[in-house]
Each structure stands twice: as structure tokens, then as C-alpha cells.
């Protein structure tokens, strides 16, 4: 299993049956592969779909049916289509139970920075800002460190924010971390890591509960 698959598989376990969820680009789009068939989750897409199904196999694409990342998708039984204003009424109106987002940086108090690197990357805001600010629960799925090995979990974000204090849970290939009023709480660790490795690669002190830290 690649590190991305590991993150997606663990993230899928945060989803409850019947929930409305939205999947950002990258790792979040892999989460449906790990949802149990019985979960009856409704996947919302910003471009006006509630009830996205699996991605199309080659040759089955419908030219009028893409997700917000321009992938050809299917829909599940009970799906619906609507315009972009209504789509964002679902999001800003608080009807998305969980928003899974990738990130560039996330801070100890749950600030999220994932839309702009000034002077380098600024393709636009898309739906991320509204999802981050208004989904009932925001879960960040991300590699624990940057490609250069620098921590992504920081005392404060250095990049411009997407939303302040919005992140509730961070899932990486090494750990599941909850953002709490007391600080970052290490909830679970990956089988193949150690507490020392997680601590070393996280630029913020971690709290943990009593007893053994569960593994995933």
C-alpha cells in the first residue's frame, strides 16, 4: 500500500453511514475505494452533484458527467444534479458532514493553508475556502512532511490561510491527530512508525491519552 492509499484507507474509517461528504483533489478522491459497500454515503461535488459513484472505467465515460477535478464519474442510486449556487448552499448552509481536504500547512489551532503560494502557485480559490469554513467537520489528509522533509504541521501557518481554526482532524501516513482546545492530541499512530518519529516530524508538541496509543 502506498502512503497515499494508507491515508485514504484510514480516512475512510472517519465516515459514518448516511453522511454527506465532499472530497478535495488528490488523496481524498481515493477515499471511496475504502468505504464499505453498506455505508450509503452521499458524495457531494461542487459542480452540482450529490451522489457521486465510482470513477468511470475506460470507455464508459459520459461527456456531461465529471467531478470538480474534471474526472469522469458515475452516480449512485438516489443521486441528484443542481446548479452551482445550490451546490454551495449545501456547503455554506452546513449540510456537508465531512470535508476532506489536502493541505500545504496546518497549524496547532487548526488553521488551514492550502490555496496559494504567493508568487509561485495561485490558480484560484475554487470551493476550498467555503468547504473549510462551513463543513461540519474538516479532516485534512496529507503527507506528514513536505517533499523536502519539512513538517507540514506547524505552530502557525506561514502561507496565507484558507480558513482560520477550521481543521478538526489531521490524518497522515504516520498519525491521526485531533485539534483540541488544549492542543494537538495524538489519537493513533501507524503500525510502522514510532512515537519519536511522529514527534520529530511534527513541529508542535503533541498531547496523548493514557495507556498505549492505538495503531492503524
Amino acid at each position: 500500500m502506498s502512503y497515499k492509499e494508507k491515508i485514504a484507507a484510514r480516512a475512510a474509517r472517519e465516515v459514518q453511514p448516511g453522511q454527506v461528504i465532499n472530497l478535495g483533489i488528490g488523496i481524498p478522491t481515493m477515499i471511496p475505494d475504502y468505504l464499505p459497500d453498506s455505508s450509503e454515503v452521499f458524495i457531494q461535488s461542487e459542480n452540482g452533484i450529490l451522489g457521486i459513484g465510482p470513477r468511470c472505467r475506460n470507455g464508459t465515460e459520459d461527456r456531461n458527467l465529471i467531478d470538480a477535478g474534471a474526472n469522469y464519474v458515475t452516480v449512485v442510486s438516489g443521486a441528484s444534479f443542481f446548479d452551482s449556487a445550490l451546490s454551495f448552499a449545501i456547503i455554506r448552509g452546513g449540510r456537508v458532514d465531512v470535508s476532506f481536504l489536502g493541505t500545504l500547512e496546518v497549524s496547532a489551532n487548526g488553521d488551514l493553508a492550502n490555496w496559494i503560494i504567493p508568487g509561485k502557485m495561485a490558480p484560484g480559490i475554487g470551493g476550498g475556502m467555503e468547504l473549510a469554513q462551513k463543513a461540519r467537520r474538516v479532516i485534512v489528509t496529507t503527507s506528514h512532511t513536505t517533499r523536502e522533509g519539512r513538517p507540514k504541521i506547524l505552530p502557525r501557518c506561514t502561507l496565507p490561510l484558507t480558513a482560520r481554526g477550521c481543521v478538526r482532524t489531521i490524518i497522515t501516513e504516520l498519525a491521526v491527530i485531533d485539534v483540541t482546545p488544549q492542543g494537538l492530541m495524538l489519537r493513533e499512530m501507524a503500525e510502522e512508525t514510532s512515537f519519536d518519529e511522529v514527534r520529530e516530524k511534527t513541529d508542535v508538541p503533541l498531547l496523548f491519552g493514557e495507556g498505549e496509543i492505538p495503531r492503524f
Partner: protein, 231 residues
Amino acid sequence: MIDKSLPIADALEAVHDGHTVMVGGFGAPGTPFLLLDRLLARGARDLTLVKNDANEPGTGISKLLEAGRVHTLIASHIGLNPTIVAMMHRREIEVELYPQGILAEKIRAGGSGLIGFLTDIGVDTILRESRQVVPVEGREAILELALRADIALIHAARADRAGNLVFAKSARNFCPLMAMAADRVIVEAEEVVPTGAIDPDRVHLPCAFVDHIVALDKLTPDYGVLPQHVL
């Protein structure tokens, strides 16, 4: 009987230099590729375009942008078009970027006779530096003004001759909102049927918002499945 259908050659007579043009579509679905090709051929310049994205290089509004016909692009995310991102960085075009649902709501407000609306989206971010921030009941909100256009170019799956529209699947997106928000609304439709042939319960956009219908007799490859997005 009202018949708003028009040959494509005449449909874009109303577009002039300096106009603001809203273009439906999210990526390819809903993009009126043939109307855009005709607009390019017509030679209008100094346009302000409003679209969710910039399509992809060589297609849709990207042709107009690449040809230097566009002064300002108002969009949400142009990440699938590196050509236009590079033009933005070289300052060859002005680009105004909004959160996607805020862009949709600005258009909806424009189409609903409103002056604007108040939102807390982005109020804690750098967006506030370029927005009007106002106090509302003890907290801060961003004042977003409504957006209207001279022209809207829309793609529909089906239209009747009076202008009632049906969209297909994820091709609906910004189309009905933009059709509400422009002084003149030009629709290309894959199928044009007699008025009354669409069940009133199935009309996605009522005919009051539509001025002209162009029947498409064939779809170009731009409308098809894009090989770069096939698994």
C-alpha cells in the same frame, strides 16, 4: 407562436468590443464551444469574460484568451489551464478570482435584482485586503456586489422554441445563473423542440430568461470525452 431560434451566423451580432460576457460551463460540460468559436471569428476585443474556469489550452474561452481578445477574466479556479496561468503571471490579462460559491452567488444576486450580499467567507484571510469589510451585528462581513453582464452564452441539452431550457447532468452548473444575470442571453441547444414538448415540471430554466436559441446540428470534438481525463 414565439420562436426565438436564430441561425448561428446572426446570433452573436449583439456582442461588441468592451462587453462583459458570461460563459456557462464547469470545465467542458456546459461550455458553449460553438458560440465561443463564432465569437472568436467575429473578432470582438477588449472583452471581460466571466466563467468558473478557463477551460483547457486551445479550447473554449482559452481560444479567446490566447488570442488577446480578453482584458479581464473573472473566475474561480484556472488551474487546469497552465497557458492562462502563465498569461496571468505575465500580466497579459487581468484575472479576478473568487471563491467558487461566492462567484455563483454574485451572479445569482445579479440575476435576482439585488445590489449585493454579505458573507463571512474569507473574512479571516487575505481576501479582506481587496474587499469591502463591514460590521454587521457585532461581527465583520465582506460586502460582495452582484455581478451582471451584457451577454450570456449558454449551452443546453434541450430548448423549446419559446426558450425553456433543460440541462444535462453536471452541465447545468453556472448556466441557469448566468442566463438570469445578462441583458441578452444566447443559448446553443443540442436539440430544439416545439414549445410545449417539455413537461413544465422538467424545465430547469424558464423561457423568460432566454433571448435567442441556436440549434446545433453537430457537436465538435470539444464537446466529447476528453482523452486527458480518461483513466
